[in-house]
Amino acid sequence: MRRSVLPVLTVLAVLLAVWYAACLPMNIREVLTEAERAGATIDPPAAIDRRDMSRLALALRNPAHAGLSWSQDRARLPAPHQVAAEFWQTTVVEEGYSRRGIVQTGSLSNRSLVYHAWVTLSATAIGFVIGAALGIALAIGIVHNRAMDLSVLPWAVISQTIPIVALAPMVVVVLNAVGVQGLLPKAIISAYLTFFPVTVGMVKGLRTPDAMQLDQMRTWSASVPQVLWKLRLPAAMPYLFASLKIGVAASLVGTIVGELPVQRGGLGARMLAGSYYGQTTQIWAALFMAALLAALLIWAIVAIERRTLRRMGVAAL
């Protein structure tokens, strides 16, 4: 673990450096237009000559103005510190110091990223729990009922190969039309995106006990629920957690996509609004918030996984 710290930090530093360097050619055209308006002389001076030049060539020929690339308002590629500032502004400052923030009013400000993250997180979490529970239930049914196994499992496997998230906008719009709004439509999307991977993973897991172990249970005259509870479910745990990690990532994407058609809060709504109004730092900040949420959700599952496996006596973790 410790051997990896230095290389990882180096890779992150290189990524950051590449990001800063990329800002130069990405923003140079807008920077030069602005500088020209402010009275600076630019090489080449005629706007028509610049139009056909590549961004990289422009950046190389005008090094004097390069610094402005990192402080552009509405930049095509905002610099990392601009994104960090936006993130700080819309989380800590908005909630802590503004008159709409949680400190002043006791409720989250609807302009803060914390609020939008909470909207997304709550829908994702509720849907994820429902979807996972249904998936586990269906998997138990499939393992115990041959007709269900043969009928349903092939479709559950096929569902993994199709872009099922494309249903998300339709689900939201249709449920809105019948008057169901807010959390529920997004939770439904999040649930069905969790449901299929968990079902497939859990069926595989519940089937890991081999004939020898099942025979042993039979010699102890264990009932079907006992076999399930004492042999199949513990054996399925590693598979369950692997599929939960896939499911939670998918359901977060589903919630974000579900927030696109109806602009009522959430990180997806925030990204789309940012892309409509050219607020690139807002998109980047929302993107980092989404990454943070994904990391948080996966971290939570890993933590539960470790505790469960440790209590089950799996020493490796």
Binding site: R76, L150, T161, V174, L267, A294
Partner: protein
């Protein structure tokens, strides 16, 4: 009301048929028939329930209406298929996979790179990368190029993680044998390690194919020409023409399953030596 009762009866009858078919030793024919009967049951019950309960077609169209929408607009949907699947998803998949394999070989060669890059890559693989779509649409325009860019980013990390794991999947015995043959690094790579990595690479490709479709469809929600499956879904959604929405989803699903089937067929030919293929 009669429709609802009929739906219940048909459900019960076909489910009873499935229970019968799956009793005792199950042959190859039943293995294919049972899921098909189940699929047909769902479609029939869906159709009858929508008629019986008078569900308006703007909420849930009947399967026959979806079929009619598919049959009535083959040219339109073919155009969407070409735009989203062939131009956006496929080109992005090809670029992302090629880049990931090249980087994976470098990572495999230099241990320092593995320790630095792999933790970052496996973290990024779990993130909702599709969120970069609004930014990439802004940079590369509304055409297929921005969709391909989203797909490259989405496919790259899972593919990299899989390929690196695959390249490491040789035993010391096999590597020693290559050394006794006096094989150079390049020879070992081409003759031993890349073939050994193939099962992992195909696993990554299968994950990537689905991700590519998702990426190119979702990216179209942020801006697209007046063509493409994602455009069709969001535009028909706005007109409450849900039969077209479903038709587009059917096209996307068939494309996804077909891609998976093709990859599985190629995998069976390439990795014929692997225990999972010898069965």
């Amino acid at each position: 009301m009669t429709h609802v009762v009929a739906a219940g009866l048909i459900w019960a009858a076909l489910w009873a048929l499935n229970i019968r078919l799956s009793r005792g030793p199950v042959g190859q024919a039943a293995r294919i028939a049972v899921p098909l009967i189940f699929g047909a049951t769902i479609l029939i019950v869906w159709e009858l329930m929508v008629i019986g309960l008078d569900v308006p077609p703007v909420l849930l169209p009947r399967p026959r209406q979806i079929g009619a929408a598919l049959a009535a607009n083959p040219a339109l949907l073919w155009g969407d298929f070409v735009q989203t699947v062939l131009r956006g998803a496929l080109s992005g998949l090809a670029m992302g996979v090629a880049a990931a394999i090249v980087v994976a070989i470098l990572v495999d060669r230099f241990d320092w790179l593995r320790r630095g890059l792999m933790p970052v890559a496996s973290f990024l693989a779990a993130l909702p990368i599709v969120g970069t779509a609004p930014i990439l649409v802004m940079w590369f325009g509304f055409g297929w190029q921005s969709k391909a860019a989203v797909v490259v980013l989405m496919v790259f990390f899972p593919m990299l993680v899989n390929t690196v794991a695959g390249l490491a999947d040789t035993t010391s015995m096999q590597r020693d044998l290559m050394r006794t043959y006096g094989a150079r690094y390049g020879q070992t790579l081409v003759k031993l390690r890349l073939p050994a990595a193939m099962p992992f690479i195909f696993n990554g490709l299968k994950i990537g194919a689905t991700l590519a479709l998702i990426g190119s469809i979702v990216a179209e929600f942020f801006g697209s020409p007046t063509q493409g499956l994602g455009f069709r879904i969001s535009a028909s959604n706005g007109q409450l023409a849900l039969d077209m929405v479903w038709a587009a989803i059917v096209v996307g699903s068939v494309a996804g399953s077909a891609a998976y089937a093709i990859l599985t067929a190629i995998e069976a030919r390439v990795t014929f030596w692997h225990p999972s293929q010898r069965g």
